[in-house]
């Protein structure tokens, strides 16, 4: 029997049992949707994260009181006991490290602020950031209007602010230019000098809903209300320089913060790339978990397929007898039923992949990131479905192939 005949025969069978076929396809597709959607979303998030971080974070370090990723309450309590990094310490560090040619930006943030302008006000969810002129180029922040903070703003501690797009929309009509207008955060008045370009997306939302003021103003005006700690963003020229800056930073900070020899650092210094890696690992784990759930759904679908095929073999006993009488071998019957199972699984997989991609597209659209087709997941899905088809089709197919032709022909 020619190979193509098995496929034609499979489609004849599907046509003869449309409802059964569709139900089987749906059960397979559901498993695959879960796998592809989870995989696609995780892959997209990971890529967005990587581009985000590499865009602004190549050869960069972050120095903070605590690590960026905290995985347990116990850790959190330990890091919270550390002394905050004061603006004075951070400034001293900046002065000393800049000699080595690194770019440094200091920043501190206060979440959940309400921003007012005249009678308008935002929800209490705006992040107030105190930072410096280096903040903008180092983060790759673009302006839609006005100017960023400049050195004089910091040096003279001017009461100026750059606002994010969401803040601007909340406070000002679309046709007015907010530059030059005044906003108020907790009794402090600031003159708007610039508006950030809209970023959107999960990583951009923080940028859109943010007000940036000079860090000395932040520290002077708000330091007493929050137990603030200054974070330091450092960018080196290349990998070798990064390693040099890394080591030097540790020395400088230990001396500034009076860490005695033999004692542990009381600050965290991390490469941005390694933070990205950790987040990536986490996302992959999330993706794998989704895939695992999809896998379980697939196994359930596989059991369903086996059940349906067993019924089908019983119903088609006579057909099998006829086929054997006119020249079918044990092998050709086996292959025929296996091909049916595999083709069914793969069509289900294709449907699931299309649906899963639509889901992933929807998710990534909501998250405002670009979807890339998770080829690896797609290939894995098709492979997995083939396995499911072979695995769960094998027993019914063997049963069909081993039927005694005489009994099969007599079967009522």
């Amino acid at each position: 029997m020619r190979a193509g005949e098995y496929f034609l025969s499979a489609f004849d069978t599907f046509r003869a049992q449309p409802i059964r076929t569709v139900l089987t396809l749906v059960s397979i597709a559901i498993g695959i949707v879960a796998i592809v959607a989870a995989g696609g979303a995780a892959t997209a998030l990971e890529q967005a994260l990587t581009t985000e971080i590499t865009a602004s974070g190549a050869y960069s370090l972050v120095i903070q009181k605590q690590p960026s990723i905290i995985t347990s309450g116990e850790q959190w309590r330990r890091y919270m006991r550390r002394r905050p990094i004061s603006y004075g310490q951070a400034s001293e560090y900046k002065r000393r490290i800049e000699g080595s040619g690194a770019l440094v930006s200091l920043f501190s943030a206060a979440p959940s602020q309400t921003v007012r302008a005249g009678t308008e006000h935002t929800d209490p969810d705006v992040t107030l950031v105190g930072s410096d002129e280096a903040f903008f180029p180092m983060r790759n922040y673009q302006l839609a209007a006005g100017r960023p903070l400049v050195g004089e703003d910091i040096f003279y501690a001017r009461m100026v602010a750059v606002i994010g797009n969401d803040v601007r929309q909340d406070l000002f009509p679309a046709d007015t230019d907010p530059v030059g207008k005044e906003i108020q955060v907790q009794n402090q008045r600031f003159t708007i000098v610039g508006v950030l370009a809209r970023k959107g997306g999960i990583f951009g939302q923080s940028q859109d809903n943010m007000v940036i003021i000079p860090i000395p103003v932040f520290v002077r005006a708000y330091a007493e209300e929050w137990n603030y700690s200054v974070s330091i963003f450092v960018r080196a020229r290349n990998q070798a320089h990064l390693e040099h800056v890394f080591d030097e930073s540790i020395g400088i900070l230990r001396s500034i913060r009076n860490v005695r020899p033999g004692e542990e650092n009381d600050f965290e210094i991390e490469e941005l790339a390694s933070i990205a890696n950790q987040l990536g690992t986490f996302l992959r784990f999330v993706g794998l978990f989704g895939a695992f759930c999809g896998g379980i759904a697939l196994v359930a679908a596989g059991v369903g397929i086996m059940n349906i095929m067993l019924i089908s073999v019983r119903e088609r006993t006579r057909e099998i007898g006829v086929r054997k009488a006119v020249g079918a071998t044990v092998r050709s019957i086996l292959v025929q039923f296996l091909v049916e199972a595999i083709v069914l699984c793969q069509i289900g997989a294709l449907g699931g992949i299309v649906l899963g991609m639509l889901f992933a597209l929807l998710l990534s659209h909501l998250a405002g990131i670009e979807l890339t087709i998770p080829i690896g997941w797609v290939v894995a899905s098709i492979g997995l479905c083939t396995l499911v088809g072979v695995g769960f089709g094998a027993y019914p197919a063997l049963k069909a192939a081993r039927l005694n032709p005489i009994e099969a022909l007599r079967y009522e």
Partner: protein
């Protein structure tokens, strides 16, 4: 140069195990059938006719004895070889037709050619020719449920003929048909025999058996008598 007989059975037995009991369906059958013969096998129910046919048709293997088909011993062949013999050398016609109910007449007749590995174009042509030769050239697209009993049996006969087998085996081919339709089918068998085919036919009915040129009677798994029929009836002309 003499070609070996088409079929030589020597001491064929077939035992079935039914729980602790052993049913001896065939108890030593010796039989020779030559090319071009038209043989009827008769006997009471349960005498072993179908069992014998299934062994001749390589659907079943004997418990003991030797079966030579066209000079080759097939008693010990494996599944693939037996399947190939069924495909190329045997044409089965059953009492219950045994057509694929969802496939058209054409597809049903093409089935053996699919297993023979014939290319689609050739397959179609040969199947159409076979259906035309049994008078069903205008029923190619009909499915079995849309055909009468006689027409279904003719599709089955076309399917048996389509690979050009060495022998046609028909187990009570008229058993499910009324007598008029039965006679039409017998006329068709007569013509097929005239065209040079070898036919072995199982039947209960003397009227049917008298179409054959040799009548073998079986009782309790043994050949009771094996006699030529000097006055075979020629079936009513086929009404196409």
């Amino acid at each position: 140069m003499s070609t070996p007989p088409l079929i030589v059975l020597e001491g064929i037995t077939k035992h079935y195990r039914m729980g602790s009991e052993i049913v001896e369906a065939l108890r030593g059958v010796d039989l020779t059938i030559r090319r071009g013969e038209y043989v009827a096998i008769m006997g009471p129910s349960g005498s072993g006719k179908s069992t014998l046919m299934n062994i001749i048709g390589c659907l079943d293997t004997p418990t003991s004895g030797r079966y030579m088909l066209e000079g080759t011993d097939v008693s010990s062949l494996g599944d693939a070889a037996l399947a190939a013999i069924r495909n190329r050398k045997i044409g089965f016609v059953f009492q219950t037709f045994n057509l694929l109910p969802r496939a058209t007449a054409l597809k049903n007749v093409e089935l053996p050619l699919i297993y023979a590995g014939a290319p689609p174009q050739e397959r179609r042509q040969r199947a159409i020719a076979a259906l035309e030769s049994v008078g069903l050239g205008d029923r190619l697209r009909h499915k079995p449920p849309e055909l009468s009993g006689g027409q279904r049996q003719r599709v089955a006969i076309a399917r048996a003929l389509v690979t050009g087998p060495s022998i046609i085996l028909a187990d009570e081919p008229t058993g499910n048909l009324d007598s008029k339709t039965g006679m039409e089918i017998m006329a068709l068998f007569h013509r097929i025999w005239q065209e040079g085919n070898t036919i072995v036919l199982v039947t209960h009915e003397e009227d049917i058996a008298r179409h054959a040129h040799r009548i073998i009677r079986i009782r309790d798994g043994r050949v009771e008598s094996d006699m030529p029929n000097p006055t075979p009836i020629v079936g009513a002309p086929l009404l196409v």
